[in-house]
Symmetry: none
Subunit: 209 residues, 4 copies
DNA sequence: AATGAATGAGAATTCATTCAT
DNA sequence: TATGAATGAATTCTCATTCAT
């Protein structure tokens, strides 16, 4: 699905508002105002508010799939290197696409059916398959231990990243980072998150009971 | 803050609806209907829809604080035992209070100020202090390694539990648990989650670089 | 179905407006203004604009059925007397309920399915059964001729009355009755219509080829 | 008024939609889509939606006037023959132009002033004059009885035809013609209507009190 | 002659809340 | 304590029309 410049412009503003106030907390009026367009243009370009949300999901999840596909096709890397690259890319994406991640974090709770839920499931499957193949590779080479619950391990990685990003204002207060600029704080948590996830992974994958 | 029977009855129905459809997606009419009361009674008992949400938070977070306080005062346990008990209690709570956890997961994203945000911050601080003191204890005794980012470790624990519970319908599909009854599935993920978190904790706290 | 005073008040104003401007040409705002109530009360009392229209149909068609039932149960009358009474009552109803008749004339054209169409069909069946039994009675007694297409005869009676009433402004102009008051004109056409239909009926039912 | 091919194409589609959903129930978008043209072309070709409706009336009523004029000028026919021809032509027109007749039936109820109302009045006058002169002719020759209310007689003819055609779906159900094809059913009611109107006319015009 | 974008007005409906009883 | 009626604001969406190209 391709989107015109105008559509992308609207989608970006909508994404921001959905992230800040939630889908139901955002009115089409809000979006039209922020995007500097007439109220009726949202229906004109997307059909409805819900279709606009779906467009945002389409767009972002499409990007994500592309990222994952790119990594898998880097045939010159070892499985551990691929895993590390995957973490780097994933964390970078999470930090850069914070607004969409907030929407995703909220919508996947209540939206259990429909087009959006389908997209989310597809994305989760793609992640799962990618990680699964990487871990199997590592296990074959003896780099990783045998007893790994990949699904739960992924829940941990995604849950950690999601929770940090969606509740970063609490993390900031609890750790006294309030004097940092937004930019600096984002840089900081990106680095911390990347290292932390890699640490958790290494500890889990190489743990000897 | 004490709540009357009638208030608790309303709060319970509201909690369920907020969890299923989100705060903004739930109307006062919905709540009144489900609770079998007159529409105006919501305002009468709570003042407003938002105050009702706050009451739910008050109530649930109060319960959680009590739980944590109980654990800390069990002076006859070792720090590792306390930590394990904490996990048991936390996971049990997460599973039992899934509706509230869904609300919490959603509201903490958009609600960054106000009474609710304050309650959440307090709760997080309580968790943080509890875990911090347990880990310091364990480090003193040489049971845990020295370099632990407690805040991120907690992010991992909470993030893992939250993500599993709020997106459990996806977890179910991805792992082919669709034939299980709701009850059986809840039992299963409670056990899995408990073990997984303990494993992650042990692997992290005892990791040797 | 019983309607409260308030509902009847709204239905009456709505009926008038629907008759004057058509269902689609009338806004809920119009109705609320004319009825002197708040805009939201229409939804409150009827659920929706369409349900309000259905209520009007329910009410008026219910009245009509009652009228027909009353006539049929007058056992002391001959079939010709019953027929004449039926015409009198029918024409009186048509004249008195001109607004509803305009709505009916318009809606039965486009509304071919749904609750409203069902009501109309029921009413038509009731009329048909009534007239059919009266004519069969008259034929048995030898008062009426044998070859009568009752369905088309009814189409003629109803069509004549409908057409006169719904296009009476044209009838008025074509026959130079413009100086008459509304009341006087209504009186006039009621009498003319009654006699005309009786004449057509007599001529048709007793025609000898 | 002459219309271009393009205009006629649009008018035809518009006529169909107006008949099916009513004028107010049909959007310019609907028409543009059905006609396979750009939305703005409706305004371009007709000025407005209302002018488009007027064009349809212009066109159809112009055709009707032509038909009537043709009959009147057939000097070789007797008045009874002319009357019969008039019925044939009228019924044929009613059946063939059902969509326009539905529009007419609806619009003449609510549209009591303006260009459209004028056109309708003109047409009615033309019909009236035609029938009046035919009946006067017949009365002079002694073929018809003296006391005839021509205006009401015409109301009966037009009303009968209108009612049958605009509510033919009910007629179909009431008389169990549902298994007939549309085409066959139209053929059937055309024949029935023609005979019925002629019968009513003959019975009325020759009735002896 | 035709198009796609745009607009402002208006549509029906739902909302949380209040008030008199 | 409880109710049903009422309100005004806000919701999303559709409408006919216009305009620049």
């Amino acid at each position: 699905m391709e989107y015109s410049e105008k559509q992308l412009q609207i989608m970006k503003k909508a994404e921001k508002l959905f992230a800040e106030k939630g889908y139901n907390g955002t009115s089409v009026r809000d979006i039209a105002e922020k995007a500097g367009i007439n109220l009726a243009m949202v229906s004109y370009y997307f059909g409805s508010k819900e279709k606009l949300l779906e467009a945002v999901f389409d767009y972002r999840i499409g990007m994500t799939k592309q990222l994952l596909s790119d990594i898998l096709h880097k045939t010159n890397l070892s499985s551990l290197e691929k895993m590390n690259l995957l973490i780097d890319v994933y964390v970078k994406k999470i930090i850069e696409q914070q607004p969409f991640n907030k929407i995703l974090a909220r919508e996947q709770v209540v939206n259990t059916t429909g087009h959006t839920a389908n997209l989310i499931l597809q994305m989760k499957r793609t992640y799962m398959d990618t990680v699964l193949s990487l871990i199997r590779e590592g296990q074959k080479k003896g780099e990783f231990q045998k007893h790994i619950d990949v699904s739960l391990l992924m829940t941990t990685i995604i849950g950690t990243a999601n929770h940090l990003v969606t509740t970063k204002h609490y993390y900031r207060q609890l750790n006294n980072y309030e004097e940092l600029s937004d930019e600096a704080f984002n840089k900081l948590i990106e680095k911390k998150l990347r290292n932390h996830i890699k640490f958790i992974l290494k500890a889990s994958l190489t743990y000897e009971s």
